[in-house]
């Protein structure tokens, strides 16, 4: 597959160059190395009240999650358990993602309604709830956020299906007597959560 050449290739001259203002207005994504973080600052102390006012109705006062709304804190050590609880603290590899996502997408239904300083404070508070930030007065800003190491940063590997699941590639699939005779060992009906019922049922192991 051919590499795209920046200099050659067809040029249609359709569209225009965006202004730097236009780009700046939309270019708010943030990377693990801190690229994209805006000027501003906030502390967990400041974030606490903001969280209570804007977030706790869904995520709970301690990020424990109300009802089916997402859990934001806890779950440490649960990743190898029967019921992994994947939170900012237990799972997320980079602190930058919290800033990027919360600023984009939270508060749910009212995104972008807070100031940059407020987002810094909220992210500090979420990290504080997760024991990633332990000093309530630690100032989160574009410098400090990029230095934060998350507990599970090393918890990820690149997609390795091509090697770990190599046995799934075969020449000719088996056609006869491929397994010993089988029996039914589980039934959806036993769990009884299929929507037709019109009843609200709890499921197992669903995200």
């Amino acid at each position: 597959q051919q590499k795209a050449d920046a200099k050659s290739g067809p040029r249609y001259h359709i569209g225009r160059a965006p202004t730097t203002d236009e780009i700046r207005g939309w270019d708010i994504d943030v990377r693990p190395d801190g690229q994209g973080l805006p000027e501003g600052k906030g502390t967990a102390m400041q974030g606490e009240k903001l969280f209570m006012d804007n977030c706790s109705s869904c995520h709970g006062e301690f990020g424990e999650g109300n009802g089916r709304w997402p859990v934001l804190a806890g779950g440490k050590g649960s990743l190898t358990s029967d019921n992994p609880v994947k939170t900012v603290g237990s799972y997320w590899p980079y602190a930058s993602t919290v800033f990027d996502y919360v600023r984009h997408a939270m508060p749910y239904g009212n995104t972008g309604s807070l100031s940059v300083d407020e987002y810094y404070a909220l992210v500090a508070y979420v990290l504080y709830l997760n024991d990633v930030v332990t000093d309530q007065n630690f100032e989160l800003n574009k410098k400090t956020l990029a230095t934060i190491k998350m507990p599970n940063e090393q918890g990820f590997v690149m997609d390795d299906r091509a090697t770990t699941e190599k046995s799934f590639w075969q020449k000719d699939p088996c056609m006869n007597n491929c397994v010993a005779p089988v029996k039914i060992i589980g039934r959806a009906a036993a769990i009884d959560v299929t929507p037709e019922d019109g009843k609200e049922k709890k499921s197992r192991g669903v995200e």
Binding site: C58, T80, D159, R161, F168, M175, I184
Partner: protein
């Protein structure tokens, strides 16, 4: 002048509309042309709809509705029935105000209106789009009784749009440009990192599906099409493409769409959708009503890695297999329809289908998958599905061993 006559007792329905009688709809005129400027299904098909599973999510705006696969045939999904997956509800974008911005490590940053996008050379391709979480509720065992719910996070339409490569060449990607951030204009501002190799391969910025404008819930006025890769990357309401030298590790590729293994480590960037198949009929929502005799097994197979090579069907839970017949076009990274026709003796069946794609990959059993991945990886459950057909024709979702 015609008088109503009796009819054999066997059939159902209203005898007055059946032979030898002339039905009511033959006796008087129906609605004229253009009374329905945009058509819709018959009122007798009102149950053929997308459905959601309310207990799955806290809010319908960040949730999923499922394609009624058990009611569909062939390989094209009609636009009105394509499953939905939103993270901030349906953005109702005014195309006059929508802009697509391309910036970052490019020579010539670009901002385009929809009308400008339409001026770039067009491509047309039929592709399936599957959410990586499709069948995710089934990791621990059979849970939902219906292929709409177990496998309905997939659809397949014809897209028309502009090759992403064309636009990247227009903007001129710098040598250092290795990754794209692709971002939507919805309330989630959905953003994902896409490696440059795929971006320059077969991705499309689509503005039409099945010939007409994208439906709002599918990203009107423009969406990214990433053939064979997980649906979450197919950013809807696409508003921005930023070229960078590293991935962004956004929330949707860290907190979500990473596959937790039994070791506690998680796979990241598991983009491609492995070969998978499912029998759509008979299935729990489409039981056998005709009793024993000639029976059609109809199903879908697909692979994110190319074309479907073959499909086999088992009646005994995977012990013995019979080749299925592929019918209709077999296209790259598209749904493929298969049939297996046989004489049902009325005894219970454990129905399964198994696809092999052109790379040789054979769809694994659930046991084979779980052996490697455990039951907590949520995504990429492409294990072989078992339907238990009972003697009375009812069908249930079961696990076998």
């Amino acid at each position: 002048a015609a008088t109503m006559l009796a009819r054999p007792a066997a059939a159902g329905g209203n005898p007055a509309n059946q032979p030898p009688n002339v039905p009511e709809w033959t006796k008087s005129l129906g609605e004229g042309v253009a009374v329905r400027p945009y058509g819709k299904p018959s009122k007798f098909e009102k149950d053929v709809v997308r459905r959601d599973v309310e207990w799955l999510t806290a809010s319908r705006e960040s949730s999923v509705s499922f394609t009624p696969l058990h009611e569909l045939e062939g390989i094209i999904t009609p636009n009105g029935l394509c499953f939905e997956r939103h993270h901030g509800g349906i953005a109702e974008v005014d195309p006059a105000d929508h802009r697509l911005m391309i910036h970052g490590l490019v020579e010539r940053p670009l901002i385009l209106t929809l009308e400008e996008l339409k001026r770039y050379p067009r491509v047309n391709r039929i592709h399936f789009m599957e959410c990586a979480a499709n069948s995710g509720m089934e990791w621990r065992g059979a849970q939902l009784n219906g292929c709409q719910f177990t496998h309905g996070m997939i659809h397949c339409v014809q897209y028309t749009g502009v090759s992403l490569r064309t636009l990247l060449e227009e903007a001129g990607v710098k040598t250092s440009g290795k990754w794209l951030l692709v971002e939507g204009a919805d309330a989630a501002a959905m953003d994902r990192s896409l490696p440059i190799e795929k971006a320059l391969d077969d991705c499309i910025i689509a503005y039409k599906m099945n010939g007409e404008a994208l439906y709002p819930e599918q990203g009107y006025p423009m969406r990214l099409v990433v053939p064979g890769w997980q649906g979450n990357l197919w950013v809807k309401w696409l508003r921005r493409i930023k070229v960078g030298d590293q991935p962004w590790h956004t929330r949707e590729e860290t907190s979500k769409y990473t596959d937790l293994m039994p070791s506690g480590k998680a796979r990241r960037f598991t983009w491609s959708m492995d070969a998978k198949s499912v029998i759509t009929s008979p299935s729990p929502q489409a039981p056998i009503k005709h009793g024993k005799g000639f029976t059609i097994v109809s199903g879908l197979a697909w692979s994110g890695n190319g074309k479907v090579k073959r499909v086999d069907v088992s009646l005994d839970g995977g012990r013995n297999w019979w080749p299925a017949r592929l019918d209709g076009p077999v296209l790259d990274k598209a749904l493929t329809r298969f049939y297996y026709e046989f004489d049902w003796n009325g005894e219970p069946l454990l129905l399964q289908s198994r696809v092999q794609d052109e790379t040789g990959y054979v769809q694994p059993s659930k046991a084979e998958l779980r052996k490697i991945r455990g039951v907590n990886s949520i995504y990429h459950n492409n294990g072989i599905q078992t339907w238990h057909v009972q003697a009375n024709g009812e069908v249930e979702n079961v696990e076998v061993a």
